[in-house]
Symmetry: C3
Subunit: 320 residues, 3 copies
């Protein structure tokens, strides 16, 4: 693995290797000193062409916990506003010699293009409606910790599947891990031929009571203006997950931020079945695992032995 | 002490303990290497719902000088703009496992609410018109270094007391430390029953020539629009501290940023009596002391001895 | 050298000393661990009154690679918006005890004024149309690595010389290093008496085929509105460097970001003759060298020996 562009590129084995690495890093987050020296003196660039405090701070913190230096570049206020092309921006940042460039872009395929212009590892932090692979990995990781292996488990992904890169990446990841995935929402928000990704489709919540997991997507207000849905009130009546629709033994997930009262009723957000906060915590750990797998193995010839010692994620290997 | 929500919660002993800690950390700021390993591998979140370069950079730097990693989240550009509730924002950030969350909010009591949603220590960096405890602590620290014990010293707090959380926190802190506090300003800007906090009231500067300290508040331009004052010119005529009104042996303080020519004449800002720059320098030290007192004592069972050695703020204990 | 305000203040020897230091730091950028402990525990303030992702991230990264803590202050969102004067802003930031303050300002001479209000080293990151010394140093460094000594080499600086601090600083630096500099552009964009800086003037590209280096400036769109040029199309016809006008053995430079299709044709940007990406990489190294020269030699009496060991930019001296 040189880059992480999409779940579509990963085999089940590669996904499991990342989740196993996350497991071995997870004990870190229990410690007071959460820092490893793995990436000391290396630079991670976070290049975000869409605002996202959550995802960018999660990557930033994951990089810092591996002791990397970070350069955070946002579209607003940057040369991008002066009309610089993506290519020139990437070539400029690449001249800093970063170990990895994390890219979020409104354009499908942007991270793949970035790989042509840099020798850094490229990580997709969301590209248009295409993929958001670290979100799917952190979701799979969160579920695996709760449920063990995902083979045969059933996950309903509910809401605006059409515009959701989170849905796409999750369908791919969860089916590769053996789960059965059902996407559910109004016909206007379920793309045709989505079944080709390996999932089933339902236009009502009927049957969701037998799911192991309800994964609810964020409903963007602007979808109503675009006439994909008649009204938020009607949407909520048919698809909102509330106390009546969430079983006592079902797990609830959401990529955040939640619109309380739209796709979720306020009470279920903090219900015992909700994994929402756990997903955020997993985000830092899984992104550390991605950096680790992509970067810790690479390096100068001859220094492999030294590094192998330096990066071992054990209590002893850590600085403090 | 688990949190720092307001001076109202602190006893004289607790305040003095914080100031003593600041004293022991102050020698650091004299060194070339200003860094201590105290909080290595721990994370501090700065969550600012109001812009403030001064206060946020002071907290950020204080955290870094104790070797913490920092995550800075501002309202603009964050999920907060997407309508996320304070609670969801806090629960998200809290999932990163931070040692402390520093909160500034336009709403009175917000930091107290935050404590319910996180296991991190919560530090109030200003909540509406209520309190700004670290400002009061840094002011008390600055004064104590100049005057020794504050018992019996007289401090005039001059200006827009009504809208000032700085005034409120300072009245509480200085009176607890034994000082006599007189608040002074136009009747429209002095809240009724302010005496219940332990201060006296004056509507003119008469008598201020006998004060040890003149603490001048920032006059917001918008107060004139709100008709609290007839004009800035008239306000300045009656309450501006200038060369004539500042005694040679009086000390001058201001929380910054100064409106030169409004509440202070330009010459007094840089007069030898002015402690304004010293207040800023004290800010970093006092915020380090707050982090230290809230966080350095906490931790895993059994590791107390190790940490006690690691954090000692002595030349030997430091890394460089 | 206490500050770096402009190339105008530097002797040839001082410039060469900085470039030599950059040479000795350059090997760092080849290593996986790019970090030196030189400025551990010291603080660098980046104070930018104009947006510039490139320059500010380059300074930020240079400081971090020397292990300094950085405080980044931008005009927007800072107290500057509340009308605080440059002086008050600087005195506030100076109270943090920074080792250096890096300043970018739209006003000529601002960095020089800053030196009066702080004991920190002041580095000019661009002041109005005046100077941008680190850009000139990184350009000279990039060229010297390619060409060896610059004596007798000829450099054409092409475009909007009138409004360019980059042009000004480069004319000064390159002529001090012995190069012959010809500025070239439409008469409306070449300032009168520019020859007094030691360069020659040409209003056409005739003769540029004999240059060793073509240094092309960015053409701001707004110049057309200001009627300095009749149209971008006509400008490009006369002054754009394209495949026909760039010799196979000539070197091409540009300070970035490039307007592809205006001052440069898209193909030459990535041609083998182009040093544009190399300039960016040199930026971090040269700014490290500037910090090093200004700061590493300074310090407490008696600690010179200790520091000399600590800062040596050798494999052994580095942390990882």
């Amino acid at each position: 693995m040189r880059h992480l562009l999409g779940i579509c590129d990963l085999s089940r084995e590669q996904i499991e290797r990342l989740l196993d690495r996350a497991d071995s890093l997870a004990q870190l987050s229990e410690r007071e000193n959460k820092k490893l020296p793995t990436l000391t003196g290396r630079t991670i660039v976070n290049l975000f062409f869409e605002n996202s405090t959550r995802t960018s701070s999660s990557f930033d913190l994951a990089a810092k916990r591996l002791s990397a230096d970070t350069v955070n570049v946002r579209a607003s206020g940057s040369s991008v506003e002066k009309g610089e092309s993506l290519r020139d921006t990437v070539q400029t940042l690449s001249a800093y010699g970063p170990a990895a460039i994390v890219v979020r872009s409104p354009f499908v395929g942007a991270p793949g293009m970035v790989t042509r212009w840099t020798s850094a590892a490229v990580i997709n932090a969301g590209d248009g409606k295409h993929e958001h692979p670290t979100q799917a990995l952190l979701d799979a990781y969160t579920l695996r910790r709760r449920l063990g292996e995902l083979d045969g488990k059933s996950v309903w992904i509910i809401g605006d599947v059409m515009h959701s890169r989170v849905a796409r990446s999750n369908i791919l990841a969860l089916t590769k891990l053996g789960a059965r995935v059902i996407v559910c929402g109004p016909p206007t928000l379920i793309p045709r031929e989505i079944e080709s990704l390996g999932c089933e489709v339902s236009f009502t919540l009927d049957g969701s009571e037998r799911a192991d997991v309800l994964y609810v997507l964020r409903m963007q207000n602007e979808r109503m203006r675009d006439t994909f849905i008649p009204s938020l009130r009607e949407y909520a009546a048919r698809y909102q997950i509330n106390g009546d629709r969430l079983g006592a033994k079902q797990l609830l997930m959401h990529p955040g931020p939640v619109n309380r009262g739209i796709e979720l009723s306020p009470d279920v957000v903090d219900a015992p079945q909700s994994l929402i906060t756990e997903q955020v915590a997993s985000g830092v750990i899984v992104r550390m695992a991605v950096f680790y797998e992509l970067l810790a193995g690479r390096g100068e010839p001859g220094s492999a032995r030294k590094r192998a010692t330096a990066v071992a994620p054990t209590r002893e290997g850590a600085r403090g």
